[in-house]
Symmetry: C2
Subunit: 204 residues, 2 copies
Amino acid sequence: MDPYPKPLKDLISQLRRLPGIGEKTAARLALFIIGDRENLAGDLSRSLSTVKDSIRLCSACFTLADAPRCPICSDPTRDPSIICVVEEPSDVLALESAHSYKGLYHVLHGLISPINGIGPEDIRLSELMERLSRREVSEVIVATNPSVEGEGTFHFIARLVEDAKLPVKVSRIASGIPMGGELKYMDQVTLASALRYRRNAKDR
Amino acid sequence: MDPYPKPLKDLISQLRRLPGIGEKTAARLALFIIGDRENLAGDLSRSLSTVKDSIRLCSACFTLADAPRCPICSDPTRDPSIICVVEEPSDVLALESAHSYKGLYHVLHGLISPINGIGPEDIRLSELMERLSRREVSEVIVATNPSVEGEGTFHFIARLVEDAKLPVKVSRIASGIPMGGELKYMDQVTLASALRYRRNAKDR
């Protein structure tokens, strides 16, 4: 005898599709949603359906937007001569939270990864080159994660720009010890990178 | 400049209403939902809306159901002479998972708690007494949590049954050291309770 009514079981199995949500948490969330007197089920259902219908990708930078252009690309105060290249829309949100970058973005939606069968044509690289070919951009900052794929994609972009003989500087975000981090807990690759890319004290 | 499109912000704030979901987790879940290619947003939205429209309380025991009677109350193999009284529908699910109880349930939807202004009339106690008055029940097992409110509600029910002069035995689930627990980590109240309600070795 299964004591869960079917709609509740369905909700639990849908919630289990979310990352980090196991059987017990899904059941707890479902029971909370059912017991909520302020119509959480209705509000959440409506919000999900709106997101599904209205979220698209910005036609210029391919980050998440609810209009043809995202708020960043539509902002006349942003500097269109710098493009920061990232892997995913969440990277844009992370960088924006630092409030220190005033250029535009380009979201690749993936990284080149031969081991996973993802080649340059599977990510938004041709769209990036098309943007650069309009000659309005002076620098591309490649802010992919410091992983094998992130580094590989950086080198690939640098090579593409060089081969196309575009007057564009390609740079890479710094990698090293994070602020507040401790040397004794850092892995060898991070330490080697932090040493190799050390700054001159005279540089600001 | 806020980089989140409004529908995404809305979804994040709805997800934050769930227990144990903070700002970062809500953002992570929302981005996962948007990025999911198997229509998680649509499925979850539909499931929430179905739950909202179809889940009701069983007219007999007040646990969650998608029909006038829950599967347990509709099951002819369950013993209608025993009623297990619990605080919430999730307690029914927990007890059912033990596969050792074959009677029916009664969900109070709360516990008597004078400090929170919850009196006997605010929970499903009159409905319990009405079920008992039909003289089909021989035992009521009060399985509320072993808390101040749970114990108080147990004593209140025992008194009600006594005052109504019903031929019903009122019992209380055992409290003590949980299986696999260690005495050295138990609180004093649990230890005192485990000693007080010790079993005779001759009892099975």
